[in-house]
Amino acid sequence: MALPTPLELGQLVLNGLATGSIVALGSVGLTLTYGILRLPNFAHGDFLSLGAYLTLAANLAGIPLVPALLLGIVATVGAFLASEHVLWRPLRQRRATSTTLMIISIGLALFLRNGLILIWGSQNQNYRLPVFPAIPIGGGLTLTQNRLIVMGLAVLAMVCLHALLNYTRIGKAMRAVADSVDLARVSGINVDRVVLWTWGVAGGLTALGGGMYGLITAVRPNMGWFLILPMFATVILGGIGNPYGAVLGALLITTAQEVSTIWLPTEYKLGVALVVMMVMLLVRPQGLFRSTLS
């Protein structure tokens, strides 16, 4: 087995961390909706793609990247809320089981992905951006400017999320609903409003992840679908409903995926996430960290 040089290894870890920040944003969205709404949403990855496409559409219409990202986020949150209104709320009221919800979410995933192909075609597309050289960050390691932006924005988003969950009324209510919907209702918390906020926060983070994923890879219809497996692996690794666990899980899994390319062909990256998830389910099914689902 070929041993990597420290430089090679460092570069792969660095690339893993950049992709990891995107998976982290998507996974935090997934773990919040899973933990708070009890919804294993397989369409989550395709919403991430939608975020990228909406950002792309705005960018190609001549809007600079950052405002385009914001537009993409707002429109994707709208799509998440529409799915809540049309699908998830009526299904919850009929007391659908989580298996039913999961299967319906797979249907929604197919619907979204084919909708993207219908509107934007199946070819790879890129944002209209100037090309920057990679930036040396010391020790022979380099990072593209885009990857730096991605990591910076992801950290900023996580800090905001942490503040929201711990220091605001609605954030604490979100955690309370994740703990116990019944007790939240009995306490006088308006659970329906908390649900909408959850979609807003989860959708915003996911769309941001999607928009930024388009910065470091091509925008293509299945970009999010291929992330759904690492995202679920991450959510399980970090404890369902635990956003901090999801961030750490995402960084671990994507870094493991990148480093695996030293020994394995790149096509096996997804398999690495799957193996991590399977080992986790066998050894510690409750996740590395505390889950809100008991």
Partner: protein
Amino acid sequence: MAPTADILLRVEGVWAGYLPDLDILQGVNLEVYRGELVTLIGPNGAGKSTLAKTIFGLLTPRQGTIHLADEAIGGRPPHELVRLGMAYVPQIANVFPSLTVAENLEMGAYQSRPAGVANRRTQIYELLPLLGQRHRQRAGTLSGGERQMLAMGRALMANPQVLILDEPSAALSPKLVDEVFAQIRAINQAGVTIILVEQNARKALKMADRGYVLENGRDRFTGSGPSLLHDPQVAALYLGGRHDSPSPEGN
């Protein structure tokens, strides 16, 4: 004994249940005066907890009416009842385990103005000092008795007129039951009207102003705590024989 003749809560001829064709409550009546501590006792399946849930809007009466003062509240959702001055402590899952003690209390006053929340929390810490000592601890790490106190503290945060407690002594050791009952007494003396659902009938009747004995979804006997405690029929049926014998405990 009612301090005034002022009826705060009145349940009249209420029928309710969980399944479409199965009525647990079958025409139950209940009257609670302002400031009273009223206990609901009776055998398992008599409908004690179901009545508590129906009063708090978790079940909708199929027949009959529920009034809080002059307002009809039957079937109103819990968050509206909280606004009207009612609070409820469920028997199980009555704290948010991943939230701290302070955050649990804050959730109890979710509808109040933020400025009032801190003041109210200080008052709760005075009433239940243990919560003050543990305010940064996660509720999931508290013991059974501490959780029960936190659950009551959370319910008191909204400054309710009426507090409904569903079997607060369930799963507690006898010593803790006494502590929890002492707290209930203190809360009542602070002016909160209390409806206490209890398995621990003897202890509950000793403390209560009045009691209702429920059977098959109806109010079978009612009277002051001591009178029910010494009623031979009630004693024979629900207190496990002679009134000085140990009370039947738990589920």
